[in-house]
């Protein structure tokens, strides 16, 4: 019965999409407001149906309804409640259902946000495009990815339970939904971009209108990626946080183009140029989210993540083709009308830095895309198999990353329009010295490899630059308003949250980049074999095997070993790496135990359980600076929230219009 209800809800939603699209098209053509209103109501129906379908599926999961195939395959009676709930997105069909829900949510919020402009063709066409995308996903979830299919031959007594890797850690509750909130969010700017092309609206309005959504989606995607890295590190146990796995790459691709867009859009806001480029970036970002979904779900790539069904692959590929084709066709048709004869005055300007940023990010995305699909290309052309793995990606992306670090150091000091060389030299002098000092110290005391030293040096340069810019702004505010440091800081930050939010994000990114460089260069790994009570020394720490214990729950059987860590005679605590086995799978899942420290992590894994002589083999990893990645991620989140806040205007009296506000900002910044 639940299955029928679920399918009905989904059918309602799909039908609402069709009705909505039709009524909006007709209403637009006939200028009939009633039809337009019907279209908007359909959006509400969409959201309600999606909520209902998800609710029914969760109900089925929580009640262990094994007549439904999805529940039988991804849930068992012994599965804890948290992982029962997260089971909604732990396999293919359910994840598409989640996508549908989030998409309906975004459409609902967007339509409501634009309700006062609901009769504008721009908004109407954007709604039509969004409903079109929603229709596709509803068709997917009603067709090849239907989670409400029944088990052939009646319900089994117990379900198979989720993949052991997906019921190991509470992060499962956050990582996929965050990612989807990111991916799906890009549908909104995509819809508006397509709409602006269709209606030929030349203005910048749609950019400002969708700026918040783009930033929110970007923020969620960034968080989702970082949570994925955290999961890889804390849960998977191989000691790393990024493996250039094809599915990881697929999540990175739209992030890269979206980041490029966030920057180049500022050039468009100020100079009304790069319109076609920005439209292309937005459309590309959306298409890359579909490509990413395709790579994850079609089974074409070897991956830890891959869901293993392939019938959905062709559907997604066709949809990708339609979206990319429509986008390219629209750009080819309308692109010329949108082009503006803008120019950038000087290479020493923030606009120029943003162009450089775009080139680097697009190159980065190209490298990641090419590396990920190259094995597929070779297979299709020559029939042989090649791998493209970490050594390739590292070699190609490290120079790009270093160049981006350099831009992050220099760009905040660059004013809009043009800089005089003298001003720039003065502004950047101190940060450049800080960076150089750090680079030299790294070379002398830490490691002679140039990429590491450059990463540390440029990172220090960037951080010093950000600090200096902020400090100078606070200082001038303090002397202008004659107030104290604290109030001046508050006023400065609140006066331009977009800028300081952005600088905080940069700070986070720089920390992450430096941490990546540090952990790669200075990480060590070793295995030690210990009898009970025996100790060994690694990297200045003493590890003692205290004992082991076994725990059995309905969900899993866990063997954990207690390892005491000491340094200089002082105990740093006892940590318990473990291995778990799950009843319905032969996979043994190792869980590492990590002692997080500000400067370095101690990473313990249980390599082999006590053998006949009672010895265990423990993997000991010393991973420097990894916690800076998570901290950087937090800064990224805070900065994004800051950038979304409206600025607190302290100039009383006159009300500024959009362009004047932008000009005022540019003046205050330079």
């Amino acid at each position: 019965m639940k299955a029928t209800l679920g399918i009905l809800a989904l059918a309602f939603g799909g039908g609402a999409c069709v009705v909505g699209i039709t009524s909006l098209l007709l209403g637009l053509q006939r200028k009939n407001d009633a039809l337009l209103a019907v279209g908007r109501k359909c959006v509400a129906v969409l959201l309600v149906s999606a909520l209902a379908a998800v609710g029914i599926m969760e109900w089925a999961l929580v009640s262990h309804d094994f007549t439904i195939r999805y529940v039988a395959e991804n849930n068992a009676r012994s599965t804890p409640l948290l992982f029962t709930i997260t089971g909604l997105w732990s396999a293919l069909a359910g994840s598409i259902l989640l996508w549908v829900l989030i998409l309906s949510g975004y459409i609902g919020v967007t339509v409501r946000h634009f309700r006062k402009r609901a009769s504008e063709p721009l908004v109407i066409w954007a709604t039509i495009v969004m409903l079109g995308v929603a229709l596709f996903f509803f068709l997917l979830v009603l067709g090849p990815a239907n989670p409400f299919r029944l088990v052939a031959g009646g319900a089994p007594l117990d379900g198979r339970g989720p993949n052991p890797l997906l019921q190991n850690h509470p992060l499962m509750a956050f990582h996929p939904p965050m990612l989807y909130l990111g991916y799906v969010g890009f549908t909104v700017p995509f819809a508006f971009a397509m709409s602006s092309l269709i209606t030929g609206s030349v203005g910048e309005g749609w950019l400002a209108d969708t700026r918040r959504t783009t930033l929110i989606a970007w923020g969620f995607l960034s968080l989702g990626i970082i949570l994925g890295a955290w999961w890889s590190y804390e849960v998977l146990g191989w000691g790393g946080y990024w493996a250039w796995d094809p599915v990881e790459n697929a999540s990175l691709l739209p992030w890269l183009t979206a980041t490029a867009f966030i920057h180049s859009v500022m050039v468009q806001e100020r100079r009304a140029m790069l319109r076609v480029w920005n439209l292309s970036l937005v459309i590309a970002t959306f298409c890359l989210t579909i490509l990413g979904t395709f790579l994850t779900r079609s089974g074409v790539v070897n991956s830890v993540h891959a869901f293993s069904e392939s019938s959905i692959g062709l559907w997604l590929l066709v949809f990708l083709g339609v979206c990319a084709g429509a986008g390219l066709a629209l750009i080819a048709w309308r692109g010329d009308r949108l082009r503006a004869p803008g120019r950038i005055d000087s290479m020493l300007s923030r606009e120029a830095a943003f162009l450089g940023n775009n080139l680097l990010f697009v190159a980065f995305a190209f490298v990641v895309l090419l590396g990920t699909v190259f094995p597929l290309i070779v297979e299709a052309i020559q029939g042989k198999q090649l791998s493209v793995g970490e050594p390739y990606f590292n070699r190609m992306t490290i120079p790009l990353g270093l160049a981006l670090l350099f831009l992050m150091a220099v760009a905040p000091a660059l004013p809009w329009r043009a800089a005089s060389g003298d001003v720039l030299k003065r502004r950047l002098l101190l940060p450049a010295w800080v960076g150089t000092a750090v680079m030299v110290l790294t070379l002398i005391f830490l490691d002679r490899s140039l990429p590491t030293a450059l990463a540390f040096g440029l990172g220090a340069f960037a951080i010093a630059g950000i600090m200096r810019e902020t400090f100078m702004a606070v200082k001038s505010r303090r002397s202008a308003d004659k107030i104290g440091w604290m109030r001046a800081t508050g006023r400065t930050l609140a006066g331009n949250p977009r800028r300081y939010g952005g600088l905080t994000v940069h700070l986070g990114v720089v920390l992450i980049a430096v941490a990546i460089a540090g952990s790669h260069t200075f990480g060590t790994k070793q295995e030690i074999r210990l009898a009970k009570g025996q100790s060994a020394e690694v990297a200045g720490y003493t590890f003692t095997y205290v004992g082991s214990s076994k725990s059995v729950t309905g969900q899993k059987t866990t063997l954990s070993t207690d390892i005491r860590i000491e340094q200089g005679g002082k105990s740093l605590g006892t940590y318990a790496p473990s291995v778990s086995t799950f009843p319905n799978s032969n996979q043994a899942i190792g869980t590492p135990s990590v002692r997080t420290g500000v400067l370095r992590d101690i990473y313990l894994t249980l390599v082999s359980s006590p053998n006949k002589t009672g010895r265990v083999t423990i993997g000991v990893g010393i991973n420097p600076m990894v916690v800076w990645i998570w901290f950087g991620g937090a800064l990224l989140a805070i900065g994004t929230i800051g950038a979304l806040l409206p600025s607190v205007r302290r100039r009383p009296g006159f009300r500024v219009t959009g362009e004047a506000e932008v000009e005022a900002q540019s003046v205050s910044v330079s």
């Binding site: 191989w238 000691g239 790393g240 493996a243 250039w244 796995d245 094809p246 070897n302 991956s303 830890v304 120019r343 950038i344 005055d345 290479m347 120029a352 162009l355 450089g356 080139l359 697009v362 190159a363 190209f366 490298v367 090419l370 590396g371 190259f374 094995p375 290309i377 070779v378 052309i381 020559q382 042989k384 198999q385 090649l386 791998s387 493209v388 793995g389 970490e390 050594p391 390739y392 070699r395 190609m396 003298d422 030299k425 003065r426 002098l429 450049a432 010295w433 150089t436 680079m439 030299v440 070379l443 002679r448 490899s449 140039l450 030293a453 894994t605 390599v607 993997g619």
Partner: protein, 167 residues
């Protein structure tokens, strides 16, 4: 009077101080680069040689991890194999050939530069060069474009219009 004549001198002084500072900085940076890139003396230790080579081979039991990173027994055996071959004096190319012979070319984590693999190395570099050149041309074009300043005729036209609407 005195301050006015010394003010430009102060500015010039501090300008040249800044310039000297940057020159010193550049020298230090070049020195650091040279120090870093100076060829290191001494042979590579067997441990780091093994680690370096094992990073090139894919662990066949795993999803994309290298033989250096994986903890599986087959990866461990592969590392031991690489180590014994290095100790026997086999060259990097010979060891790679052995692994390719066993597992096929897909055991290499980065494609070789010869054959079709050249695409994956050359294409991105080409893209960056082309993109950079494109930007360079664009900047040159923009510099050549005269900045549009309103001429006196334009100003009078505007003034006439404005008076027209006001009047």
């Amino acid at each position: 009077m005195e301050s006015r004549s010394s003010a430009p001198t102060n500015r010039t002084q501090s300008k040249s101080r800044v310039r000297i500072s940057w020159i010193v900085l550049a020298v230090v940076v070049i020195g650091a680069f040279t120090f870093s890139l100076w060829p290191r003396s001494g042979p590579e230790s067997i441990a780091s040689h093994t680690a370096r080579l094992s990073r090139e081979f894919r662990c066949v039991d795993c999803e994309g991890l290298s033989v250096a990173e994986s903890a599986t027994a087959s990866a461990r055996a592969a590392r031991a194999d690489i180590r014994s071959r290095i100790t026997d004096g086999e060259s990097d190319a010979e060891i790679r050939a052995v692994f390719i012979d066993r597992y096929g070319e897909s055991v290499l984590l980065k494609p070789r530069g010869d054959g079709i693999g050249i695409i994956v190395w050359a294409l991105p570099i080409l893209l960056v060069i082309l993109g950079g050149a494109g930007l360079g041309f664009a900047f040159a074009r923009w510099r050549r474009q005269p900045r549009l300043d309103a001429s006196a005729e334009d100003e009078s036209l505007v003034a006439k219009e404005r008076d027209g609407t006001n009047g």
